[in-house]
Amino acid sequence: MLRGLNQERIVFTIAVVLFVLFSVLLPGFLSAGNLLSLIQNVSILGILGVAMAIAIIGRGIDLSILSTMPVSAAWLLTLVNGGMPIGLAFVCALGFVIAVGIINGTLIAYVEIPAIFATLAMGIVVYGFGKAFMTPIDAVYTGRGESWFYAIGSGRVLGIPSPVIVFALVAAAAFLFLRTLKPGRFIYGMGDNPLAARVTGIPVRPMIILQYVIISIIALIAGIVMATALAGINTRLALSTMVYDVILVVVLGGIGLAGGKGGIRNVVVGTLLIGILLNGMTIMNLTYTVQSILKSVILLLAIVADTLLNPRDEQTAQHGDI
């Protein structure tokens, strides 16, 4: 009877239970303003989650996005602060992230380095290269320009904070890409069984490059949202543990690390749970350490529940399971 409960549903249930609990117990939780800020506070995590989902569904992983995001956005700001028009600076940053994506994809597809190592190394390269040649100072601040560009992270459209809208747009685009476009379907095929995908005639290697280019571009979008929301960005983010938060959002939502399973809906569910948790704990004024403990305990519970309800066996286990 409980068999129908996959991880996405378990997490969704936990999210709903927490939501109801907080609504009853915490005054002010259920206000429209708080709910919007709840989503806004996790929208950058959500955008990165979408990128990570595209990697994991294709049986890969991208640990370099947390370097690509701050370095590309910081470089963009450095160029703009140095007098370059925003459009041109954006093209430069876009060129940079596409190059990072191509290198990632080439290392994985042609040099055949496992994605986890290729992108781990690439993340360090991107951070080091950025620190040495692109942005000499960790923290880069936005100038005082009046362009609409600065509203990407801090404005509102019809009362909705713009980071939420960007998250929705990125999620919708990724959803349509994975569901309706041929390359999107190919990513599922490659994730489910790369050898079979290759035998069937899917151009697996070029597809891997495309996959990592898309991921890098989404990382740039997340970086622009973050930089314009906070009036600056710090490349030191590359050294933080945020990449684990991103993987957690994805895995928590129910996208298996073995690939080929799940979709954007899982990312949204995982992101919402984290958002509800963080928001409720901040309202309760819990200390940072206690918040981290509670967050990890709930994540563990979700994973344990999934393992108990959907045990791995010879049929469900795949080669390459982590």
């Binding site: 002010g28 206000s31 303003g33 708080n34 800020s37 709840l38 806004q40 506070n41 996790v42 950058i44 620190k131 000499p136 100072i137 960790d138 923290a139 601040y141 005082r144 801090s154 904070p161 973050m226 929301a229 906070l230 009036a231 600056g232 710090n234 490349t235 030191r236 983010l237 050294l239 933080s240 963080l278 928001n279 901040t282 309202i283 004024n285 200390t287 940072y288 350490t289």
Partner: protein, 341 residues
Amino acid sequence: MIGKSMWSAAAAVAILASVAGTVAAGPYDDGQSKKYYETMKGKRVAFVPLSMGFDLTEGWNAALQNQAKALGYTVDVRDPNWNVEAAVQAVNGFIADKPDVLILHPLDQQAYNRLVPKAQKEGIYVVQVNLKSVVNGDAYVGTDWYDMGVRQAQLMAKTCGKAAGKNGKVAIVTGQAATPTVIIGNQGMDDVFAEHPDIKIVAKQSADFDPSKAQAVTSTILKQNPDLCGIIGIWDGQDTGVAAAVREAGMQDQVFFISQGGGNKAAACDNIANGNFDAYFSYDVPGQGRDLNAAVKILLQTKPKPGSAAFALYTPLKLITKDSLTASSCWTLDQLKRDGG
């Protein structure tokens, strides 16, 4: 007769030679300057910041390098990039190298407790800058964090307290809990607020020195306390996130936000000018750079036995508000690289 004139000629030659000798000895010596330059020449200074690449450490380094170049000594930097273990290794490496002065900027209050005495035993002077280990070196140059907490809290009590006709609701957004900035600064605030029962701390949250966490935390605090009067921040790099949340909530006129930092123009004065910060306590990096150079010069000239005559140069704090803001309230790295120190 002949002998006498010989002698006087010899004397004349000797006098001439001694005059010429003084001329050839170069610059004027006022009795100290010659020795000063000789003492400094060829010395070796080593600097281990918690990381290069951010405004404080780049600023100090610019000042250190300028003076080193002028006086003919060297300053070597090893960058541990926010990694405490790498920093300990770098310090150990330097101790083996035996420089004359070792400048430390510890991220962790405890990590250098053994290294400071070890360096001193090797005859190396230890200077700590802006953050210090529990163990004191030969000199400390930097902020008195207790004073920082007290000044921030006093200003907040004055702005949001009963005397100003406000409700006294204040939030504190702090940083990584193990740094002296947070531990000692919070003590200063607690002591002030203990004397001000009209101030109510409605929330005290850590944002881990991460501006995006600061934004998330602040936006939630503002939703919970729509009548909040003020917020105290811990570091300008994180505080831009607090300011973003306040701006977004449209509460910039209502919420009085006090930040602090090294007084870099982009981080401090620009944010005061555009209303992101209402008040900013600056520990003035150019001044600290000058003090740091002074500490090096004092130690090398007075030559005490390392560890025997410790002294401190606490940085006078500078309050920057929109009213007190001038073109020289802040600094830029280019300016410090050009003429800092």
